[in-house]
């Protein structure tokens, strides 16, 4: 029974990774850049909910909406100020800028909120689910996390396939130049991608902090990096890949913590990244990119 409990907790953690990985993978797919500041947007999202819900005492659901809006603005601003001027610059310059933005966000949070750990109150106040006469208890936040992730995943897939801006995103990701020549506003499309990725990061932040109720300026950094591993694992640039990669990674991490060693769990996660890169560099669902010659 404890295996099932670990598995379910793993799926829940994995759903959070999946939400974060979606942001990584969409931005990578469309702007061809790794936004390493993505994890820190989660942390900011967490703080916004902390301040508005615990501090100002507004309804937690409203706080989440506020947080999503704040992160959307933040993501679009980061793109506009830090990344857009570097469009066409070498990927290395963009990568270093992203790391810089990541440190900037962490340090701003440190300055504003201090380094002490904030106790984050769970926004999911539903009762826990007890199965088999109390042998198996599933926390309500776990269930909500999984359901929310699935809804977002399905909605996003629909959005990308069936709407104008989604088609524009696909077109830009396939051939930026051709998309532009067909009248697609490339900068606008990339900005929308950042907006969506960042608002998902806010949701991920809230779910993460509800499941692991402590908040520091470094809260987003480790999940951010693991979500990046998840995105690469699933095939970076692929939306279903990010989802599958996230879930698998969460399950692997939780099961290793339970049955191998809680200290080695992170090492195992990152070993997976190395193995994937060695064996199947395109990830589980990644597309093989053939260079035309």
């Amino acid at each position: 029974m404890s295996f099932v409990a670990h598995l379910i907790n793993g799926i829940s953690l994995g759903s959070v990774y999946a939400l974060i990985a979606l942001g990584y993978t969409m931005v990578y797919g469309i702007a061809k850049m790794l936004n390493f500041a993505h994890g820190d947007v989660i942390m900011i999202g967490g703080y916004v909910v902390f301040v508005t819900a615990s501090g100002l005492g507004i309804n937690p659901l409203a706080a989440i909406i506020v947080s999503m809006a704040a992160c959307t603005v933040l993501g679009v601003t980061i793109e506009r100020v830090a990344y857009r001027p570097l469009r066409g610059a070498s990927p290395l310059a963009v990568l270093i800028t992203a790391i810089g933005v990541s440190y900037l966000l962490q340090n701003v949070a440190l300055l504003v909120f201090g380094s002490d750990t904030k106790a984050f109150s769970n926004v999911v106040t539903l009762p826990n689910l007890e199965l088999f006469g109390g042998q198996l208890i599933i926390k309500s936040v776990t269930i909500v996390t999984v359901i929310v992730s699935i809804i977002i995943m399905v909605g996003l897939t629909f959005f990308v396939r069936k709407t104008k801006i989604g088609r524009a995103m696909t077109a830009v990701s396939e051939d930026q130049g051709a998309a532009q020549l067909m009248g697609i506003n490339v900068n606008g499309t990339i900005a929308v991608t950042f907006a969506i990725g960042s608002s998902l990061a806010a949701v991920a932040g809230v779910l993460l902090c509800s499941a692991y109720p402590s908040l520091t300026p470094y809260t987003g950094s480790m999940p951010g990096i693991k979500a990046f591993v998840a995105a690469v694992f699933g095939g970076i640039g692929s939306i279903p890949g990010a989802f599958i990669g996230g879930i698998l990674l969460g399950v692997i991490e939780n099961l290793s913590k339970a049955y191998i060693s809680s200290q080695l769990a992170d090492a195992i996660v990152f070993s997976i990244l190395i193995i994937v890169l060695l064996v199947k560099p395109t990830g589980l669902l990644g597309r093989k990119v053939l260079e035309k010659v």
Binding site: G155, F159, K162, T163, K164, I165, G166, R167, A168, T170, A171, E174, D175, G177, A178, A179, Q180, L181, M182, G183, I184, N185, V186, V192, R287, K292
Partner: protein
């Protein structure tokens, strides 16, 4: 007044003068050919016309509107559409969606309406589907609507590229080596398609081509480019019989 006019267009890349003093005047409804040996600057001119490059000097006028230095997206909106030498479709997308990307600017609804699936989203998407299907039918591609674009046969991909360009509702269509890599049968079919597009949409077409049979078969006027400069310009037969042109192509 000519639909497309360039005056003294020029651009350099480092020390290389890729295009120099390029003048052209294309009348509405004309089928105009741009030919020349490899590296003469033909595709560079297309890139200048579509705003991919900004000219160092000179002016581009479409229907009397100055497009010099405008952004690619604004030039597309002003009415210049193009295809590419090496096909650049959105290969992972369905054929229908490729055309719908071209329709993008003519069918407005906001991102917000798209996310929430408000009534206008459904209405506009329906209109887009209908218009895209219509275009696919014109090009005989309707049966492939759900195929992934990259799975189409080569000749059909060329047609789809023209359909996608036509979806942007252009005044001027630029075709960059449409017959490249085609066998004689496909080339013949392509010639018919190009003529058909001109007649059906009263389109003005400027095309780059190496296939002399195609050029002689459908172009009404020609400009020959050599080392970035205009070598000859005029009626097709006249130009093709010009001794300078023959020398440029075959050597003296």
């Amino acid at each position: 007044m000519a639909l497309l006019e360039t005056k003294n267009l020029g651009i350099s890349f480092g020390g290389l003068r890729a295009v120099n003093a390029f003048d052209i005047s294309v009348e509405k409804g004309q089928l105009y050919g741009l030919i020349g040996p490899n590296g003469a600057g033909k595709t560079t001119i297309f890139n200048l016309l579509t705003g991919v490059y900004t000219p160092d000097e000179g002016a581009i006028l479409l229907d009397g509107v100055n497009l010099t230095g405008k952004k690619t997206i604004d030039i597309c909106k002003a009415g210049i559409a193009r295809t590419f030498q090496n096909i650049r479709l959105f290969g992972d997308m369905p054929v229908l969606d490729n055309v719908k990307v071209g329709l993008h600017n003519h069918y407005p609804y906001s991102t917000f309406e798209g996310i929430l699936r408000l009534p206008r989203y459904h209405k506009v998407e329906k209109e887009m589907n209908a218009r895209a299907m219509e275009l696919l039918e014109v090009f005989g591609l309707e049966e492939y609507a759900d195929y992934q674009a990259e799975n189409l046969p080569y000749g059909q991909q060329r047609k789809l590229e023209i359909a996608r360009a036509m979806a942007t509702n252009p005044k001027l269509l630029l075709l960059d080596e449409p017959a490249a890599g085609m066998n004689p049968n496909e080339t013949r079919e392509l010639m018919e398609t190009i003529r058909f597009v001109r007649d059906r949409f009263e389109m003005t077409i400027l095309l780059i081509e190496h296939d002399m049979k195609l050029v002689a078969g459908i172009c009404e006027k020609l400009t020959v480019l050599n080392f970035g400069e205009v070598l000859a310009q005029g009626e097709t037969q006249e130009v093709l019989n010009n001794p300078d042109v023959i020398t440029a192509y075959l050597g003296s």
